[in-house]
C-alpha cells in the first residue's frame, strides 16, 4: 500500500461520485459512473483485493454501464429546457 497513491485515487473517486449525482445529463452521468467504477477497481486492486477489483471492472464498469445506457435509450425527454 502506497498512501499517496491511495489518497490520489480516493480523491478522484470522491470527485467522480459528486459529479455523477450533480451532472444534469443522464448519459454523461452514466459515463462518469463508469469512470467511478474503474477508479474503484484501481482502489481495490491497490489495496490487495484483486478478486473484488476484477468483479468491479467486469460488472461495474463493463456490463452495468451498458445496461444503464440501454435503459436511458428507453427514456424520453419530457421537459423542453
Amino acid at each position: 500500500m502506497i498512501w499517496q497513491f491511495d489518497l490520489l485515487i480516493l480523491a478522484l473517486v470522491v470527485i467522480c461520485a459528486i459529479a455523477t449525482i450533480t451532472v444534469r445529463d443522464l448519459l454523461a452521468a452514466t459515463v462518469i459512473f463508469g469512470v467511478y467504477s474503474f477508479l474503484m477497481c484501481l482502489l481495490w486492486a491497490e489495496m490487495g483485493a484483486v478478486d473484488v477489483a476484477f468483479t468491479e471492472a467486469t460488472v461495474g464498469a463493463g456490463v452495468s454501464t451498458i445496461l444503464f445506457i440501454a435503459a436511458i435509450f428507453r427514456t424520453t425527454r419530457r421537459s423542453k429546457d
Binding site: 484483486v50 478478486d51 477489483a53 476484477f54 468483479t55 467486469t58 460488472v59 463493463g62 456490463v63 451498458i66 445496461l67 445506457i69 440501454a70 435503459a71 435509450f73 428507453r74
Partner: protein, 159 residues
C-alpha cells in the same frame, strides 16, 4: 469480405466498418479470456462469476457493434435459456449430490463414492464444476438482460 461490403453499402449512418471489423477481431479473444478466468478460478483471482460476465460481455459487444439478430445467429434465445438453466442445475446438482451422499451441501469430498479419487482432488474438481455452472448461468443472464433492456423484448435493432 463480400458480405462486409454489402453491409457497408446498406448500413444506416452511425455504424462503421472499423467498429465492426475490430469487434469481429476482439470477440474471440474476450471469449478465450473468459474461459481462462473460469477454468483458473480456483487458482487465481477470478472465477465463475467474473468469467461468465466476460463471456456475456463478448455477446453484448457483438450486439452493440452489429444488431441483435447477429447475436441471435451466434446464440439463439432458446439455447440461451437452456444454458442458463443448465448452469443453475449444475450448481445445485453438485451441491445437492454432496448432501445426498451424506456430506454437507457443497462438501465435495464425499463425491469419492461416485468416482474414486483422493478427497483433495475431488475438492479441486468440485469447485471447478460449480464454477462452470456459475459461469454458464451468469453469461446467459447477462446476455438476456441486454437483449431485453436493449430492445424491450422486440429483438429487432438493439441500441
Amino acid at each position: 469480405m463480400k458480405r462486409l461490403q454489402e453491409r457497408a453499402n446498406t448500413r444506416p449512418a452511425g455504424q462503421g466498418l472499423i467498429i465492426e471489423t475490430s469487434v469481429r477481431i476482439m470477440v474471440p479473444f474476450i471469449q478465450l479470456y473468459g474461459l481462462y478466468v473460469i477454468v483458473h478460478g480456483h487458482y487465481s483471482p477470478g472465477g465463475g462469476f467474473q468469467g461468465g460476465v466476460a463471456l456475456g460481455a463478448s455477446f453484448i459487444l457483438l450486439g452493440l457493434a452489429f444488431d441483435l439478430p447477429t447475436t441471435l445467429e451466434r446464440m439463439s434465445e432458446r439455447s440461451n435459456a437452456l444454458l442458463a438453466n443448465a448452469g443453475v442445475l449444475i450448481f445445485t446438482g453438485v451441491g445437492a449430490m454432496c448432501a445426498i451422499l451424506g456430506g454437507y451441501l457443497l462438501d465435495y469430498s464425499v463425491l469419492t463414492a461416485i468416482i474414486p479419487m483422493a478427497a483433495a482432488e475431488w475438492r479441486s474438481l468440485g469447485i471447478f464444476l460449480v464454477e462452470v455452472g456459475v459461469g454458464l448461468a451468469v453469461m446467459s443472464i447477462m446476455v438476456s438482460l441486454f437483449w431485453d433492456i436493449g430492445s424491450a423484448g422486440q429483438m429487432d435493432e438493439g441500441l
